[in-house]
Structure formats: structure tokens, C-alpha cells
């Protein structure tokens, strides 16, 4: 750390801070969908990463499609792609719930295994349809490059885009779960399924749509990540463990917990990365999480539950 002037240090911290915030938004976007599925429904979806990949591949597909037939729309397709990714992943999730998940609600460990099987099938489908090599959509110009508020601070535009998208999605989820009628029904079903059924809530439908929503959000995350990295058949498995850690650490039942968890994990990891190698930073972060979870299994930010 020697040899840097104060302003240089300031710039480094600013960029590191932004890298941390960028990582935070990535983790949060991934975790939001899973928090809904795991936190609200208690379902372990090991295929969550693959639903993200669905979003990414959808974006790639739309990108090639636009390039081939509507090259003049290249600047606009991306936002459309995000919306389409949401629906594609969501619909797939809807069917997955219908065919598979709904039989396994009382058996969480079995859901874990069954969804892993689903993820294998999805991975192979990606490989068969899109090939084994990694692909990337052609990103519109306005996403490229960076903004330079000062000479030494370089903020990539795609990072800001993902951050903005995360904020929009988080607010959307918050509004949906806590301010809308439908969200009320979801929460009622999770808290007391029998009673909810008794008052006329179609709990099966609520489950199905909730799962679909979680997958849809995963799709958005996948679409957003095409701005950061390329996509391959196994990209989903890269993210799944991190995502679970964020959700479990945040206290699965709490949306605020998920946000706080994603923030602390992201900051911890990026700050560590500054001092030590990337892999060791990851090891220490995960290790700390595991140790904390051993002391507080319900998650660090879980609200107090009556014993």
C-alpha cells in the first residue's frame, strides 16, 4: 500500500467500493429469486443457477436473432431481452413446479436431489441446443465503456446498469410481496397453509406462481449477467453455492435479511480481495460464513422466532 498518494488511495477505495457494490447487486439479484423460493416456500431449488442460465441464453438468442434480422434494433433489444428472459424462465419454472416440485413439498432433502437432477437435464439441454462453448450476446453500445467522474475513478457502465436493475427488481419484489394482494396470499399460505386453504386461497396456484416468480427473477439475473461474463452450460453451477450462502446467511425467511447478507458478503469479499489473492479471499469469506452459521444456524439477520 505504500507509494500511493491520498487521492490515489481514495480512487482505489472508490473503485473497490464500487466493485463491492457491483458484486452486492449481482449476489442480491441471484439471491432474490432463491429467497422467495427457499425462504417463503422452504423449497431447495438446486436448479436455480440453471434458470439464471435460461435467462442468459434467452438474451443470447435474442441478440443473434436481432443481429440477423433487425440489426437496426440492436440498441433496444437488450431491455426487451430482460423482460422476455423473465417470462421464459418463469414459464419454465411454472412447469417445473407442476411436474416435479409439487410432489415433494414435505420432503426437503428429496427436493434437493430432484432439482439437482433437473439441473443436470437443463445443463445437457443447453449443451445440445447451444453447444458446449461459452457464448455471449452482442451488447448494445450504451452498455459498453465506463464513466469517469474524475480522472482516476473508472466506473463501468454495465456495473451501474446491473445495480440499477437490481434496485428496480428489489423494489418490485418488495412491493409485490408486502403491498399487493397476491403477496398477502403468498405470505398467508407460507405461514398457515391449512387456514389459507380454508379461507379460499388456492394454495396450489399460489405455490406454482411463487415458484415461477422466483425462477423468473433468476432469469432476469441471468440476462443481467451477460453484461459481465459469458455463458456456458455449466455457468449455473458456478453461482449456486454462493447464492445459497447468501440466502441461508441472511435468514431465509427475511427479504431484508437477504439484502443485508448480500451486502456484507460482497463487501467482505471485495475488501479481502484487495489484500489477498482471489481464491483465498473466497475461502476466508465462505469460512467465516460457515462459522457464523454454526453459531447462528437461522442466519445472521433472521428476525427472532418464537422457540
Amino acid at each position: 500500500m505504500d507509494g500511493y498518494t491520498t487521492s490515489e488511495l481514495g480512487a482505489i477505495f472508490a473503485m473497490q467500493g464500487f466493485a463491492g457494490i457491483s458484486l452486492f447487486s449481482v449476489l442480491l439479484l441471484m439471491a432474490l429469486g432463491l429467497a422467495i423460493i427457499f425462504g417463503q416456500m422452504g423449497v431447495i431449488n438446486m436448479a436455480h443457477g440453471e434458470f439464471m442460465a435460461v435467462g442468459a441464453y434467452t438474451t443470447y438468442f435474442l441478440s443473434t436473432f436481432t443481429e440477423a434480422y433487425f440489426p437496426s434494433f440492436l440498441d433496444y433489444y437488450f431491455v426487451v431481452a430482460i423482460v422476455v428472459a423473465f417470462f421464459v424462465a418463469g414459464i419454465l419454472g411454472y412447469f417445473a413446479e407442476f411436474i416435479l416440485i409439487r410432489h415433494l413439498y414435505s420432503r426437503p432433502l428429496d427436493t434437493l436431489l430432484a432439482t439437482w437432477g433437473l439441473s443436470l437435464i437443463m445443463q445437457q439441454t443447453f449443451r445440445s441446443v447451444f453447444g458446449a462453448r461459452e457464448v455471449s450476446p452482442t451488447l448494445p453500445d450504451w452498455l459498453m465503456g465506463s464513466v469517469q467522474p474524475t480522472e482516476m475513478i473508472d466506473i463501468p457502465i454495465n456495473g451501474m446498469f446491473v445495480l440499477g436493475l437490481t434496485i428496480v427488481v428489489t423494489l418490485g419484489v418488495f412491493y409485490l410481496m408486502f403491498k399487493s394482494n397476491w403477496g398477502l396470499r403468498v405470505r398467508a399460505t407460507t405461514q398457515n397453509r391449512e387456514m389459507s386453504g380454508a379461507v379460499g386461497i388456492n394454495t396450489k396456484k399460489v405455490d406454482r406462481y411463487t415458484f415461477a416468480l422466483g425462477c423468473g427473477i433468476a432469469g432476469i439475473a441471468g440476462a443481467a449477467f451477460t453484461t459481465i461474463a459469458s455463458t456456458g452450460p455449466t455457468t449455473g453451477t458456478l453461482y449456486i453455492v454462493d447464492t445459497f450462502m447468501v440466502v441461508v446467511f441472511g435468514g431465509a425467511a427475511s427479504l431484508f435479511g437477504t439484502i443485508a447478507s448480500a451486502f456484507s458478503i460482497a463487501q467482505a469479499q471485495s475488501i479481502l480481495e484487495f489484500f489477498i489473492s482471489g481464491s483465498m479471499a473466497k475461502v476466508y469469506t465462505l469460512l467465516t460464513l460457515v462459522i457464523i452459521l454454526m453459531f447462528k444456524p437461522e442466519g445472521l439477520f433472521a428476525s427472532k422466532v418464537r422457540r
Binding site: 434437493l112 437435464i121 453455492v241 454454526m294
Partner: protein, 384 residues
């Protein structure tokens, strides 16, 4: 005599199944397979150790671990370290800038052996380490989690994360561990060439013998009061606790035992295949071990072995001819086992085998008839 027969051999059925398995792996395979294929089967049988460990831990104990690869890997790396040190003797490594240390350390500009490698120059230490360190690691994890009543899904996820931590650690510290390529180029064990065909034969039989031994010991455990308690804990943990048992201790023990078994498997893997890498430590191999147990039958020690063999045979066959099909099949298998046959092949066998044994009943009656007609003759003969 009766205790031995009932508890260890498992009565009439149990003995028969154990004998059949022993015959298959000790006689039939070596007889009909060439050295190369037998070595392959030996490799599969090392995975079977992990599958058997899951029968104890998950099938009977109700605790799903998605990280048995951790212990398999620790056992395997222990053995690999010993073998690598032997292969990196100063005579063999004269071209290195620092002779006497493993090649990957030399590439990473290390000039001396890291402290934790030193003891692995001794074979005795290595064996002791393989038998104790993974179990010790399991004890730490188990004590931290089971004493705090962390179980079920949370436990499974945490084992997964620990598997990731270990993998990232191994891959990231190439100088200390050989990195993503693992520890390779292993040649001799105390002077004896482990790559020769004869060595592979011997290791195969040691492996098979150990596996059968592990199954017998596991049966002992499962048939004791401890085993009944394990089932009870799986089904009604609270009732067990309120009958005066410290449930956490029981879970810790079976977790450590499962770790021990997996570690032995890992060590035998290194001996037979000649290398160890982080690709046997992480989440993918760990969850494959679960599927071996699930398909074979999570409640059946012997079934788990067959499950392991079946899936690995399938993998080898299909990946050559229909690589695309294999992952679909695996994924489908996961789902099918969970949804339709939760007790795996062993469960199906238990449910339907009486159809076969009844049909074979005609053989038995025929045999008895023949015996009857022969016996009078015998009496006649012996009167000479």
C-alpha cells in the same frame, strides 16, 4: 454362533446377499475381466466406500451430507502425498532447481517442503493420518453443527459449502497441493511399483476385501442398539432425546464413521488409479456419491455397492457412445429415484424378489426329489 449368524451375516437373506457380492467382486470380476477393466472396477469400488458411508449416515441416520467428497479427498490426498514424496526423491528429481520436493512445488518456486508435508515421508504416519484426520475433521464439523441442532437441509448446504471451500483452497494453493491438476505421477510404494499389473491386482483384492470388511462392521453397528437408535433418531428425534439420549453425540459418531469409511475409499483410489485431484473433492463428486447410494438403495449396504457399479458402468458405456444422452439419463435417474423408488434397487429387489425365488422354487423341489432317490442308493453303497 447365532449372534454371528444373525447380526453380522444378517440371517439367511443377509448371508446370501453378502456371499453373492463377495463372489461377484472376489471371483467373477477377476476371472472375467482383464487387468485394465478390473482396475476400472476397482476404481468404482472405491466410490462404493462413500456410497456405503451414506447408507449409514443418510439412509439410517437421516442426515444428508453433500460433502462426502471432502473425506474421500482427504484420504486420497494423504496417500498421494506419501507416494509423491517417494516419487520425488532427490535421485528422481535431479533436473529440478530444488531436488527432493514434488515437481509442482518446484514450478511454484518453493525451495523446501511445507511443514505439513514432512510427516508424510513415513508410511505409518500416512496410514494413521488417513484413518484419523478426516474423522477428526468430521468431528469438528459435526460437533459444531449437531450440538447446535443444525440438521436437515441446512446441514446439507453447509457440507456443500465446506466442499467448495476445500476445493477452492486446493486449487488456489498450487504450490502446496498441486492445484487443479492434483498430485500426479505416482510411481512406487516403499519401493514397490504401483503401476504394474500385479500391483493393480493386489490393490484390487485389498480394496474388495476392505469393502466387504466395512460392510460387515457396518452391519454390526446397524444391528446393535446404536443402530436401532439411529433409525429412531431419523424418524423421531425428539422422542429419542426425551428418552434420555444425547442425540447430538450419536449423529457426530456416525458422521465421523462415515468420514472414516470415505477416507479409506479415497486412499484406495489413489493407490489404484495413481493420482488424486480436487475433482474428487467438490460438490459434483459428492452429489454423485449420493446418487450411487440412492439408486442402489439408501437403506442397503450391499445395494449401495451395486448402485455404484451400475451407474459407473453406465457412465463409461454411455459417455463413449452417447455422451449427450448420459447427462439426461443421470438427471432423470435422480428424479426417478426420488419420486418413484426411494429405496432404490434394493427396495425393488425386496419387493419383487420373491417372485423370482418362488419360480426358482421348482429347482429346490427338484433338487430335493433327486436327493431322495439318491439317498437309498447311498445306504446300499455304504453297506459294502
Amino acid at each position: 454362533m447365532s449372534f454371528f449368524y444373525e447380526k453380522i451375516l444378517g440371517g439367511k437373506n443377509g448371508t446370501a446377499h453378502l456371499l453373492i457380492l463377495a463372489a461377484v467382486i472376489l471371483i467373477i470380476f477377476p476371472l472375467f475381466l482383464d487387468a485394465f477393466r478390473l482396475n476400472l472396477v476397482g476404481k468404482y469400488l472405491t466410490y462404493a466406500f462413500a456410497a456405503v458411508s451414506l447408507v449409514l449416515l443418510w439412509g439410517y441416520g437421516g442426515t444428508l451430507s453433500l460433502g462426502q467428497g471432502i473425506f474421500f479427498g482427504l484420504g486420497g490426498y494423504g496417500m498421494a502425498m506419501f507416494l509423491k514424496l517417494e516419487a520425488s526423491s532427490p535421485e528422481n528429481t535431479t533436473i529440478q532447481s530444488t531436488p527432493g520436493i514434488p515437481d509442482f512445488m518446484d514450478w511454484n518456486q518453493l525451495t523446501e517442503l511445507p511443514w505439513f508435508w514432512e510427516p508424510f515421508t513415513s508410511f505409518t504416519f500416512t496410514i494413521i493420518a488417513i484413518l484419523t484426520l478426516p474423522a477428526l475433521f468430521a468431528y469438528i464439523i459435526g460437533a459444531a453443527m449437531f450440538k447446535r441442532r443444525v440438521g436437515g437441509v441446512y446441514f446439507a448446504i453447509i457440507t456443500q459449502v465446506i466442499a467448495v471451500i476445500l476445493t477452492v483452497l486446493i486449487v488456489g494453493q498450487q504450490g502446496l497441493t498441486g492445484g487443479i491438476n492434483g498430485i500426479t505421477d505416482l510411481r512406487t510404494l516403499n519401493g514397490w511399483d504401483i503401476t504394474s499389473d500385479s500391483a493393480k491386482y493386489i490393490f484390487y483384492f485389498i480394496n474388495a476385501g476392505l469393502l466387504l470388511g466395512v460392510i460387515v462392521v457396518s452391519r454390526l453397528i446397524l444391528n446393535s442398539k446404536f443402530g436401532h437408535l439411529l433409525l429412531a433418531i431419523r424418524d423421531k428425534e425428539d422422542r429419542v432425546r426425551f428418552s434420555g439420549y444425547d442425540v447430538g453425540n450419536f449423529k457426530i459418531f456416525i458422521f465421523c464413521f462415515a468420514a472414516l469409511i470415505s477416507a479409506i475409499g479415497g486412499a484406495m483410489f489413489t493407490l489404484q488409479v495413481g493420482f488424486m485431484s480436487p475433482s474428487f473433492v467438490g460438490i459434483v463428486p459428492s452429489i454423485e456419491m449420493v446418487i450411487f447410494a440412492a439408486v442402489g438403495g439408501r437403506m442397503s449396504l450391499i445395494g449401495a455397492v451395486y448402485g455404484t457399479l451400475l451407474i459407473n458402468f453406465g457412465k463409461t458405456t454411455f459417455s463413449e457412445s452417447f455422451p449427450e444422452l448420459w447427462l439426461f439419463l443421470m438427471g432423470g435417474l435422480f428424479i426417478a429415484v426420488v419420486m418413484f423408488f426411494p429405496n432404490g434397487l434394493a427396495g425393488i429387489w425386496n419387493d419383487y424378489s420373491h417372485h423370482i425365488t418362488n419360480r426358482l422354487g421348482f429347482v429346490k423341489t427338484g433338487y430335493n426329489k433327486i436327493k431322495q432317490t439318491l439317498v437309498p442308493q447311498k445306504i446300499q453303497d455304504s453297506s459294502h
